[in-house]
Amino acid sequence: MAEEITRELTMSRAMVEAIAGEMRADDEVFYMGEDVADYGGIFDSTEGLREEFGYDRVMDVPISETAYLGAAVGAAQEGMRPIAELMFVDFFGVAMDQIYNQMAKNTYMSGGNVSVPMVLTAAVGGTYNDAAQHSQTLYGTFAHMPGMKVVVPSTAYEAKGLMHNAIRDDDPVVYLFHKRLMGIGWLPAPDGPKTPVPETDYTIPFGSADVKHAGEDVTIVTLGLHVHRALEAAESLAEDGIGAEVIDLRSLVPLDTDTIVESVEKTGTLVVVDEDYRSYGVTGEIVASVADEAVGALDSVERVALPDVPIPYARSLENEVVADAGDIEAAVRRTQ
């Protein structure tokens, strides 16, 4: 019987603990990004690392995402293990060629002759009124283009285990952490993401979705922040006797279709909840993946995602487009 773990960490502390652990174990691991040294990362992704490892291994870089993400690709191809941060995922467009035409494709284009053992970290998500250029998750955009493993922790426990696996992986991994979950002082997290975290190093495999709440009536598939909103909805549905199974994807690439299909075969009902745009993204893929495997099992389907508009600024407007627990609950009720 495993020892009981009681120490709780915020998601940011857990993420940093994994990075620090790998940096201690391997001199070739280093972190690059804007404001990652003295500031400790705008979203606390590197808090305290510069103090321990110095400026050389926790490098502030010019506001030149193409140059420094590309430099990470180059250093990774030399065998180093860079972690490079895009401050907001929304800035992908200034460096997408390095991300997609180089980092993601070089392994395949070289017939496996070259590997690119780097981690691209990026803060994602809204809920604090940062408007259209600073609030997206872009989950679907990154998951669509092959060559990157794409992971999204929802709690401190996952943040650590996924990060250890990401740094050790010889393939490029995109690690998308939700700002609202980090436990940053000025951006209070909901209750869920702060969890017990083992002191020891451990790895969580990619492609293993986690059933965060069991239920018999409806399968809710989600990730990131919305895991917690779905759990809230599940509690409330339970009061009315509706059993919701909440599946936290944890990685988009690879996708754990088995866990989803197994659940839908039991419940017959699929509600996919996503903080990315609705069309041509995550919700479509999850629905279609189930249809591929078990179209007969699908009695009822709902997609809860950002409507196809940029994310608006004003609170009333942003709240309208980003689903809350009530929206999820309502979607579930529509299926019953």
């Binding site: 502030d60 940062d130 609170r315 407007l317 309208e320």
Partner: protein, 346 residues
């Protein structure tokens, strides 16, 4: 010698901008005390205030007309004010109200006032290409409008800026690039990330005139900008200007600035382009009472705008689904003509 009316106008813009930022700071922090919570209070989201940058806004925009285009970055208010953006509607936008410039959809980093050809964007240096495009439009239409792109000293390492230098130079576009050098890019001091001390030297690699105004002085900015804007207006091509300014507040509200040496903060607080310009006005014969009036007027204008903005309705949630398109989704047509296509597949 700068005409007294122009000095006075710049002064008015600058005190308006300074007071505006100070008042926004107060409003912003309301509801975010004692614990700072970015998502609480009357002004949502990030807020980047430009106290200490005023000379760069006023000194350049003093030369601009309404039909001259300005693009500003994430720290836009002082430029918007100097460019003549509607203060009330801008303020309403910052408060996220229905009558804001963008109906509450854009927010403080995304202010668009087509009446005075002003726009801004929150992505570093990405205002430069559209400014070049405005210059291109002026050239194609053979008008004498010009375009000005503002950026921070931290933005001079970004491709969008560097590519725009070449684009403007090779087409001789009427564009002025204005770097506001406040020594910091969030927590990163210039020397840590940029190869140059003097950002205007980027021009040397692009066959373009470059000039640095290394003192935070509205008149010096005015003079440098007169030449640059004049060059553009006379169809003699683009110029790169860098202006030394000072960041008197954190990068964004809530920034603890723990990375920043106290001496640097103190120095920034001491240098004051507004006081300097007041001295110039006094030297030109303006007395203290007049200066006080100008200040009072500016403050009243700011108060009025803030009052007005706070009175405006919040957007109806349903409005989130509007303004996606200017035309219908189907484009300008919603029906297909009926042709008899011989041998076609239809």
């Amino acid at each position: 010698m700068v005409a007294l009316t122009e000095l006075t106008e710049m002064y008015a813009d600058m005190v308006t901008a300074r007071h505006y930022e100070e008042r926004l700071q107060e409003e912003y922090l309301e509801g975010k005390q004692p614990a700072f919570d970015i998502s609480a209070g009357p002004i949502p989201g990030e807020l980047h205030l430009a106290a200490g940058h005023e000379a760069a806004g006023a000194g350049v925009c003093q030369h601009l007309r309404d039909d001259d285009t300005v693009t500003a970055p994430h720290r836009p208010h002082h430029v918007a004010i100097a460019k003549g953006v509607d203060l009330k509607r801008m303020t309403a936008e910052i408060f996220g109200r229905e009558t804001g410039l963008g109906k509450g959809k854009g927010g403080h980093m995304h202010l668009f006032d087509p009446d005075v050809s002003f726009a801004c964007s929150g992505i570093i240096a990405e205002g430069c290409p559209p400014a070049a495009g405005a210059g291109l439009a002026a050239k194609k239409r053979n008008t004498d409008s010009v375009a000005v792109a503002y950026l921070g000293e931290g933005a001079i390492d970004q491709g969008a800026f560097l590519e725009s230098l070449n684009f403007a130079a090779v087409h001789d576009l009427p564009v002025v690039f204005v770097i506001e050098d406040n020594d910091w890019a969030i927590s990163m001091p210039k020397e840590r990330v940029t190869d140059l001390e003097d950002g205007s030297k980027r021009a040397d690699g692009f066959d373009m005139p470059g000039r640095r105004v290394d003192v935070d002085d509205a008149v010096a900015v005015y003079d440098a900008a007169r030449e640059a804007v004049g060059r553009a207006r006379d169809q003699n091509g683009p110029t790169l200007l860098e202006i030394q300014v000072h960041r008197r507040m954190g990068h964004f509200m809530g920034d603890p600035e723990s990375y920043r040496p106290e001496a640097d903060q103190a120095a920034a607080a001491q240098r004051d382009s507004i006081e300097r310009l007041a001295d110039d006005l006094r030297a030109a014969g303006t007395d203290d009472a007049e200066l006080e009036d100008l200040r009072a007027e500016a403050e009243a204008r700011v108060e009025e705008a803030i009052e007005w903005a706070k009175d405006q309705p919040k957007p109806d949630p349903a409005a989130a689904h509007e303004d996606m398109w200017v035309n219908p989704p189907s484009g300008v047509t919603d029906s297909e003509p009926d042709f008899d296509l011989a041998g076609g597949e239809d």
